[in-house]
């Protein structure tokens, strides 16, 4: 395994950013997990619950020269790996770490 957890100091002119990515199912795509959780909340007596949708929340720590560069990289990662465009959509936020 790689030493992901022990961040080396940021490189030359590089800053550390934290990307927060929400990956959610597109509307209309079935969410069996969310539906099952909703039903179980109702069974527990939370009858005010109308709907539950469950998505992923990814926190990505990365180095970049600036916020825009970090966002562009995250955008690329989402398209390539982190989300599946056929059924999912994503939103990216970037903050300095």
């Amino acid at each position: 395994m790689i030493g992901l957890r022990h961040l080396p100091g940021a490189g030359q002119g590089q800053m550390l950013y934290s990307g927060r990515i929400h990956v959610t199912l597109k509307s209309g795509v079935l969410d069996p997990q969310g539906d099952t959780v909703a039903r179980s909340l109702l069974a527990l007596g939370y009858d005010q619950v109308k709907q539950v949708r469950i998505g992923k929340y990814l926190q990505v720590g990365l180095e970049a020269e600036g916020q825009e560069e970090a966002r562009a990289a995250l955008e690329e990662m989402c398209r390539q790996l982190l989300a599946n465009p056929v059924i999912e959509q994503y939103e990216i936020e970037v903050v300095p770490a």
């Binding site: 199912l25 597109k26 209309g28 795509v29 079935l30 969410d31 069996p32 599946n84 056929v86 059924i87």
Partner: protein, 731 residues
Amino acid sequence: MSDRPWEEVGLTETEYEQITEILGRRPNELELGMFGVMWSEHCSYKSSRPVLRLFPYEAPWVLQGPGENAGVIAIGDGRAVVFKMESHNHPSAIEPFQGAATGVGGIVRDIFAMGARPIALLDSLRFGSLEDPRVRYLFSGVVGGISWYGNCIGVPTVGGEIYFDTAYATNPLVNVMCVGLLSEDKTARAVASGPGNKVMLVGARTGRDGIHGASFASEELGEDSLRRRPAVQVGDPFKEKLLIEACLELVDRGCLVGLQDLGAAGITSAASEMAGRAGTGMEIDVTLVPRREEGMTPYEVMISESQERMLAVPQPGREEEVAEILAKWDLEAAVIGQVTSDGMFRVRDAGRVVAEVPVEALAACPVIPREKARPAYLEEQATGAEEVPEPDDYGVALLNLLSSPTIAGKAWVWRQYDHMVQINTAVRPGAADAAVLRLKGSRQGLALTTDGNGRYTYLDPYTGGAIAVAEAARNLACCGARPLGVTDCLNFGHPGRPEIFWQFEEAVRGMAEACRALGVPVVSGNVSFYNESSGEAVYPTPVVGMVGLVEDMERPCTMAFTNDGDLVVLLGENTGELGGSEYLWLAAGRPGARPPRVDLAREKALVEVLVQAVGTGLLTAAHDCAEGGLAVALAECCLAGGRGARVKVTSSGSLAALLFGEGQGRAVVSLPEANWPRLEELCQGQGLSVQVLGRVGGGALEIKAGDRVLVQVPVEELRTRWEGAIPCLMS
């Protein structure tokens, strides 16, 4: 409607005119949409139907051939086995995880729709080269999806096969077979008989997902259909598990007149087929269908392919009981219509009739006569001389074959599958040529396998088709099982191309002839055309799923060499044919001129010998020679048993061809020396040639030709290469 309305639903102008003639008027938009899905290739088999008639369907033990949701064969004691295979190629190419998962869900519904408990899954997969990152993504997604769905519903995935070849780079093949067990007196039928009976939709709510899935297999998605939603669906294996239990309880209690799963073309197909089989009519009110989304049109409701739904016709007066059982399993059910007597399929929207067509018409899609032409490439191949490169080092060549992903160990795949749940798996993945399940409370067992080499079929479709059947039978026989029935999945390119259709017919002819020769009927199957991208078709790939019966589970036989000193024997002739072999592909980068020949009488003799030899306990191991030839077969027996062997081959002709040629009709077996006379006698009786190659023992596989040592490799080195290949490519 546009002035070419048939185009929107994927039909031709001629077909549109035929519909108009049947109805005596133009169909309205909904009616046309229903015809569009029902007359799609996927639902109507309009290209393949005449060709499929070539298969033999009859045998005394066949209880149900093609036509119902799955085929059924009797195995004695009032028990029957239900099985079918299906493809989910296109959805898996787009969304491998969910595509493969919903493929599992679909085929499993076919099985329990018959009232059978699903007891096993097998997956037959084809991908491009694992060097390609996109292929790795597809491969791990497909395996992950099968694992997720199959494991969750508690049906073990006990076998399958995987080939890697650039021919499948953009169009992977994902074929899944499901096997179920039922007692003959508890069979469900997919019929809607009894006018006045209620029709219930059970399970998941209906959404817009998978709209046009049936035609998705045959066309590009236009902008218009994209607007209507992705054709790929998300599976809910938890709901499927509940559906299995609930439906089996309904069948067990005898509450139902008919039961049918919803697959391609959704309610339209399920309801019209149920009525068609019973010769009745059907009336559905779309407003009664529980929806997942608002604002769905009648058209969307009627052709939605939302997963995990079943259509049930309760016995009159037992609707309450049905509803109670479903409620017990937390499943929703709604009465959405009723059986009628007038032979019409009528759709209502809040009472108002919005479509009305004869049930028969929906099923009466006329056959499209397809042109056939022998492809030019076959001539070109055939003229190329079969020159055979000999390797510098036969041991290295063997190791390279063992680490070729097609031949390499597949544990990376099957350890992701729960292959033990239901505690019947007596012979597990990787242990033998077929999986063997014990049948609780009986001495009998079931052996299961899938086979089909696309490269052979590409080189000679007739021979490739015949070999697929022969290999499957051989695999079962190596486990001591007598082959009883075949299901198949025929994966080909665009049927409108004469070369493709020629391949298709030839392959089916070969399969059919092999089935006849071996006495195995076809009881179910599936055709998947349009497996191509940018005009390049995949290898024509018929996949055979075969079920066999082991009479006595007290005498198990796997491929593992287990006793030092046992004789190693080759059944059949070492013909030294390198065409179509993995060796030739690796060494020369070409498929070769022609595949190995197939002699069906010899195959039959081999199966007989194996079944009897295993059945009488003569053998300690049996393994057929397939990809990689004799040397790989020997290596696999050594690997499975964790011990070596010393063997000799005759030293004439090409040694590479003797070691790595993929000649058919052969198996490697081991046995105690004392049993040799009986085996020899058996072989003579069947006219099968047999020769002693050497003995089990030592820590290495040693292969000699005369006095020359060709291969001398420690078993642990074989193991490192064979087990390490796929994990290494995937990490």
